[in-house]
């Protein structure tokens, strides 16, 4: 049996190991590398598609691997979220173990000429005068001066941008705040999309708000480009009333890029389309199972008891017999029709464009007619209490990155050697980012000090 002391020392050893590993920048960079690779996989492989789509796109083995490994929804996988968690842990440990403990060298005597960034200049005057002049010079240039005596020898130290060491902390904090904001959305937020036909009212399931689209309009501008005539959509707008469960209402024009904030939810004009109503008859009698209200693209209904079904696949604004597909370039409903797909179970048997208002014979006495269309507005909604945190985090993160990049903490070691009125001032500089990073500033500083000393002495 392990004694309590042994168990304690095992825990301590494990803790030390954990801190060592998670506090290592190379470990952090390895996590970043894995993060990068996983993120890239999601760029290359389409996310959130139907399994069939992967079998269409890739060889069967690859498609199976994609699905089995969950690469079709990588960003929402436990592995991905867990990795972000690990990054946060590593970031926290690093921040408190490496970054917050001072990164500048301690105040101590050094061998000035053994530090690569060093210089000597002559100065005249009593030791007190020279030291005061030097300190005045550095203080004027924004350096914070400290004096310390080691073994009876007085040293002057000068620090610049010492506070900027906290930049890393700020950047890391920013990242953590963004992560917190995102988590808040997962815990408390919701989102969704609704397609609302003109004149229809729909309820938002999560909070009971009612949305009515009185009308939907779009503007399409035919434009001549070098590649030919294009029909460019330039405006989508819904005339919308939102009513909350508590009775508050608002009526607004909802446009892309101009969301509506109502009852803690943001509503967005996202898309539009054409709802189409179909008639299906057999021997002149209506067939049951055909929706009475307009259908949306992708919806299907059965053709009686035949086992076949009809899917409304696409709305065609302008049927153009001259085009090989029969679909004209102009999306506006000048000569409208619909593309329907006949399915046998899940299996597509064929597609056809049917002009609106024209009945086609499906065989077996069945006749199908797309009767009329009605525009619908695609509206997305989202309740995201994490947004203020994410915004704040982003700001903090950028501030931290800028502080870390643009303010270089530096420490000068200043040593006077000599006696009477003639002194040799030894200067050495160190930074947490190496010597080369500070080389030019050091040279400029020394040159300027030299000039000021020469001016003083003459």
């Amino acid at each position: 049996m392990a004694t309590a002391t042994e168990r304690l020392s095992t825990v301590q050893a494990l803790y030390a190991e954990f801190i060592d590993t998670f506090g290592n920048v190379l470990f952090a960079v390895s996590l970043l590398a894995v993060w990068g690779v996983m993120t890239l996989i999601g760029v290359v492989i389409d996310q959130g598609k139907d399994p069939a789509a992967y079998f269409n796109e890739y060889p069967a083995q690859l498609a199976r691997a994609v699905l089995r490994l969950g690469l079709d929804h990588i960003y929402h996988s436990y592995e991905y979220v867990g990795l972000i968690g690990l990054i946060l842990v590593s970031l926290t440990v690093c921040t408190f173990k490496r970054v917050i403990p001072a990164r500048l060298p301690p105040l101590r005597p050094v061998l000035v000429d053994k530090i690569p960034l060093h210089a000597f200049i002559e100065a005249n005057g009593s030791e007190g005068e020279v030291r005061a002049r030097l300190e005045g010079f550095f203080a004027k240039a924004g350096w914070h001066i400290r004096r310390k005596v080691f073994n009876g020898v007085e040293w002057t130290f000068a620090d610049k941008h010492n506070w900027a060491r906290r930049g890393v902390l700020v950047a890391h904090l920013g990242f953590a705040i963004i992560a917190a904001g995102t988590t808040l959305y997962w815990l408390k937020g919701f989102s969704g999309a609704v397609a609302i036909l003109s004149g229809q009212t729909v309820q938002i399931p999560q909070n009971g708000d009612m949305l009515t689209v009185h009308s939907f309009n779009y503007t399409i501008k035919p434009t001549q480009t070098r590649g030919g005539l294009v029909y460019q959509p330039v405006d989508y707008v819904s005339d919308l009333t939102a009513a909350s469960a508590s009775g508050a209402t608002t009526r607004n024009l909802l446009r892309v890029n101009h969301p509506l904030e109502f009852d803690g939810i943001s509503y967005y004009q996202a898309s539009y389309g054409y709802g189409v109503r179909f008639d299906l008859t057999q021997a002149g009698h209506p067939v049951a199972g055909v929706p009475a209200t307009p259908m949306f693209e992708g919806d299907a209904f059965p053709v009686g008891p035949t086992g076949r079904s009809i899917q409304y696949s696409q709305f065609v604004g302008t049927i153009d017999p001259r085009s090989p597909s029969g679909v004209g370039a102009d999306p506006r409903p000048f000569n409208p029709g619909v593309v329907v797909t006949v399915l046998d179970g899940e299996q597509p048997l064929g597609q056809e464009i049917i002009p609106l208002g024209r009945a086609v014979d499906l065989g077996g006495g069945y006749r199908l007619e797309p009767v009329s269309y009605r525009l619908y507005s695609g509206i997305e909604y989202r309740h995201d209490p994490g947004v203020p945190l994410v915004g704040l985090g982003a700001l903090v993160l950028v501030a931290g990155v800028c502080i870390s990049f643009y303010f270089l903490p530096a420490r000068l070691f200043v040593r006077l050697e000599g006696e009477g009125d003639r002194w040799m001032v030894g200067l050495a500089a160190q930074t947490p980012k190496g010597y080369t990073m500070f080389e030019e500033q050091f040279a400029a500083l020394v040159a300027s000090l030299q000039r000021s000393e020469e001016a003083t002495v003459s």
Binding site: W35, V43, G227, A394, V398
Partner: protein, 327 residues
């Protein structure tokens, strides 16, 4: 107005090509007159590109960043502008041949995407278009420049390795006059000082010696900053690019929130930008470690650039999504 755009655009392509060739020749032969002509030509190219962009903005009444042609053109303008700024600051004129020829390639390629004026689709009709796109594109420009300095670093690093039969000395810190007193080392130190004006001794003694003995490639390479300085220059350029990319991604998220409802939708374009951000974040973190600065961080800057080009062009052309200019 479109005639002006075409003329200024063609002028810019021509100026950059000429300036690029002159500055490449300057890199090879170090004749002062080559850069004396090359640099003003690069500036003239930039000016005519700016004129083309302004003329287009006037004609369309919109920030000219609505398609791949516009954005690539802006990317090249930023790349040249950043090059001029950094070249002036760190005496990097010799880099112009690479930067301008790469930039000119992209500008000429941009022309193939120019389909003329089109009104903006609803989601692009936002002030964010004028802020988000230029910010991201400016960061790409910085990363392109960082790629050029990194490649130069790596060339110098590996040539030093092959000339000295081993690895280069660790950067910047060793007095290069190690073994000073021998005539070879003295000649080398003097040569280095003359060619580069470097005060801190060089860390590529193999190259310096070869240059002193008349090796042409070594001579070119000794005329550029030391490895340690090249590394710092790359870091400083990344220090421009990374905050810009961070800001660009954040602004994109704000725009997405306004246009599509969610600030992040894992759309291929925004996700690819995140990959670039992660790579440069790794660069930055590794750069805090002495042993990793230099060769390895330079490779990361190269990988980062490949990712940027994939994100910029690859995703637009091969992978469609909400951001694709083709839709």
């Amino acid at each position: 107005m479109s005639q002006f755009v075409t003329i200024f655009y063609a002028l810019a392509v021509a100026c950059y090509a000429a300036a690029g060739l002159l500055l490449l020749a300057f890199f090879l032969w170090r004749k002062g007159w080559l850069s004396a002509f090359g640099v003003p030509l690069a500036i003239a190219g930039l000016a005519s590109q700016a004129a083309a962009i302004a003329a287009e903005a006037l004609a369309t009444g919109w920030s000219p960043t609505s398609n791949l042609y516009d954005s690539l053109s802006l990317f090249v303008a930023f790349t040249v502008l950043l090059y001029l700024i950094f070249a002036r600051q760190y005496n990097l004129w010799y880099l112009g041949g690479f930067v301008l020829l790469v930039g000119d390639f992209f500008l000429a390629y941009a022309g193939t995407w120019n389909e003329g004026y089109r009104p903006l689709v609803p989601s692009l009709q936002s002030y964010w278009l004028a802020i988000h796109v230029p910010t991201v594109v400016a960061s790409y420009a910085a990363f392109t420049l960082a790629f050029c300095t990194s490649v130069l670093y790596l060339i110098k690093f590996y040539l030093e390795r092959s000339h000295s039969g081993g690895s280069p000395m660790s950067m910047g810190l060793q007095p290069a006059a190690a073994g000073a007193g021998s005539t070879g080392a003295m000649a080398m130190a003097t040569f280095v000082a003359q060619r580069t004006g470097n005060t801190v001794q060089d860390e590529t003694p193999g190259l310096a010696l070869a240059a002193a003995q008349g090796d042409t490639i070594a001579t070119w390479l000794m005329g550029i900053p030391t490895l340690a300085k090249l590394d710092v220059i790359t870091y400083r350029i990344v220090a421009v690019g990374l905050p810009l990319l961070s800001l660009g991604i954040i602004m994109g998220a704000m725009w997405a929130k306004e246009a599509w409802g969610a600030y992040w939708q894992w759309d291929p374009k925004e996700t690819a930008a995140l990959v670039c951000w992660i790579i440069y974040l790794a660069y930055m973190h590794l750069h805090t470690r002495n042993q990793w600065r230099g060769e390895r961080t330079s490779w990361i800057a190269v990988v980062g650039f490949v990712a940027v080009i994939f994100c910029y062009l690859g995703v637009n052309i091969w992978i469609s999504g909400l951001h694709s200019y083709k839709v």
